[in-house]
Symmetry: C2
Subunit: 423 residues, 2 copies
Amino acid sequence: MQQSQLFTKTRKEAPSDEVSKNAQLLIRAGYIHKEIAGVYSLLPLGRIVFENIKNIVREEMNVAGGEEVSLSALQDPELWKETDRWNDEKVDVWFKTRLQNGTELGLGFTHEEPMARMMKDHISSHKDLPRQVYHFQKKFRNETRAKSGIMRTREFVMKDLYTFAKDEEEHTALYERMAEAYKNIFDRIGIGDKTFKTFASGGVFSKYSHEFQTIVDAGEDTIYVSKEKGIAINEEVYTPEVLKDLGVSEDELEKVEASEVGNIFSLGTRFSEPLGLTFKNEAGESVPVVMGSYGIGPARIMGVVTELFSDEKGLVWPESIAPFQVHLVGLNGEDEEIKDYTNGIYSALTARGVEVLYDDRDLRPGEKFAESDLLGMPYRVVVSRRTKEEGQFEVVTRVTGETRMLSEEELLQDFVTNEEDDD
Amino acid sequence: MQQSQLFTKTRKEAPSDEVSKNAQLLIRAGYIHKEIAGVYSLLPLGRIVFENIKNIVREEMNVAGGEEVSLSALQDPELWKETDRWNDEKVDVWFKTRLQNGTELGLGFTHEEPMARMMKDHISSHKDLPRQVYHFQKKFRNETRAKSGIMRTREFVMKDLYTFAKDEEEHTALYERMAEAYKNIFDRIGIGDKTFKTFASGGVFSKYSHEFQTIVDAGEDTIYVSKEKGIAINEEVYTPEVLKDLGVSEDELEKVEASEVGNIFSLGTRFSEPLGLTFKNEAGESVPVVMGSYGIGPARIMGVVTELFSDEKGLVWPESIAPFQVHLVGLNGEDEEIKDYTNGIYSALTARGVEVLYDDRDLRPGEKFAESDLLGMPYRVVVSRRTKEEGQFEVVTRVTGETRMLSEEELLQDFVTNEEDDD
């Protein structure tokens, strides 16, 4: 797209009330807008990054056998009373509201209950199992603190998938498949090497659950990692017993800050039993369904990526989630010949399916370069009278700063091939 | 997709507490699930219809110059007090909630205020105008009654676009362009011939606004239409003065029930003035931006389409928004040869990009046909030992009931060409 058509403006200074690096940078670059503490809106470039992350998650959920639905935010108190999760003393993050007639409603902070109740209409026999159902839906959480920018907010979209199995064995297979899908997601986004499947508390119904924790200074969690053994343990379950269970010793583990980018839970019959989600097994007996739940928040991932990869100049997006692959920066915009030439290369790239943000505005080169660094597209292509006379384009890789001079043919080959590799 | 992989089940009877035809049918067919009165979730097939409608809306908004963002549901009371829309006596559909510290928050029922405030960061000069910014976002409305199924709900996604112009002339051009985009949307969805741009009250700042009203028995509005003159008037402004203004007489107009599928408003400076959304004009003076707002609810359209096209057998989807173009119904599933043959035609169609729901289940033909009618895909293709022996496929057009016998070549040609025509 032409940058002159983009309504957002960048700014030199972050708002003084933002303490997190991710929110500071994303606001400066015009990717997000703060509504109130802990609540952000997505502006055009931020929305594209967010959608790119969502699409990777969706693809992996579908490959793993997930079926997509969309459940409501407004929640029925009666349902949550059946599982004893309505009371504010049991769950301290509810936002609650009321109908005109005074009836209380909740805003879903998660969806185990409505998902289980909905499935009662569709599961009656062992032949109806297993099932994997997910949605991307707004969650509302009444957090007391909101200091981590878009990594912890009061309103956010979560992909939550729920598995429904006939027994523990079938559940375990689904759980392992979902763990594999999560690994693929983090690899594709480019944070796979910093992300560890981490032992965490399993609550009442299983010994452990697993979190996917990405090592990052701004993380709110502390984990103990053995990169060699590929083992990570959340501080909350870091006990001699757990170390022994996992066959790892204290001196093999490194203590690091990390951010939870996903989690997977074995729920057993914690929800299916009180809600009556049962099926007839092969012996004709009515038994409760074995459930699991699997969450990922795309905005938290966007925040973690910002914290991990950005530098003093601004944002740095991995190719897989960048709003555009190429930032085409046209200089000498007052020179009609150069303008036409730059328009031509913009058309040539976009016609070949390359996603290009084209800075067609009439600004000084220094301003354009500084803003280009702030916006953080993977590649910058500079076109000017000088590069035209040389018959070459200057290509700068954002993450390394490496500069190459490419002919038009090389340029097209490079990006069009890159794009195809990504698919 | 293979129907054996679809978790939803159909049912013969609608829930007894559903009074609207659209919710009854969509629940029976497994497209939606009722959470509480006036709140529905989308199941897989319903979600695809909903996304197909969204995509048509999105394409037309983008063609018209819209930029997509995503604003929050949680709302800052201070902002809405500035425009005098926080008080429940002024706006009676608010859902309100509270932070842990007691601070009140609202759940957005529309987004003029946050959109205008957000644009203050990005509009300062006449060079920054015009702009058109939209999002698909959940709205929450505390409706006292909820009797129209998915046509009027307490939680729903709306596409709302806002225009920002430097003066009335620029605003009018944007307004007309958006009216044209809306017309394209309703045409593409297949309700264009029943949908009229209808004069309605413009509130304080303009003589009229326009609603797009679709003539349908279940509609909650009453309008007066002259199909010949292409004029429609909402009952609320049906006065001798308005008739005179529009150059139409009472006896040319027919009174009908209709449902509002979209609306477009000229807002003038109603929001920009109190919120301080101003810009420097060419003379260097600071003046308020002229705004417009433009809403469409995809779920209401889905409800209207259901009301309009469904018949005693079930749903009937227009091709442009159907979850799948073809419902492939395999009979004689116990016969391995026929099963392979049916699998083959499924592969051939999907490989060519045709969206196919393939009933690969082991059920009686009568059950399959009844369910296929209920689900409402535009075309049913039946494969059985008989059709194989004849070297033909039975193709039934859902809306007319017309049956054709096509060879494999004709079948592929028919659907693959159809698909391409749609794009």
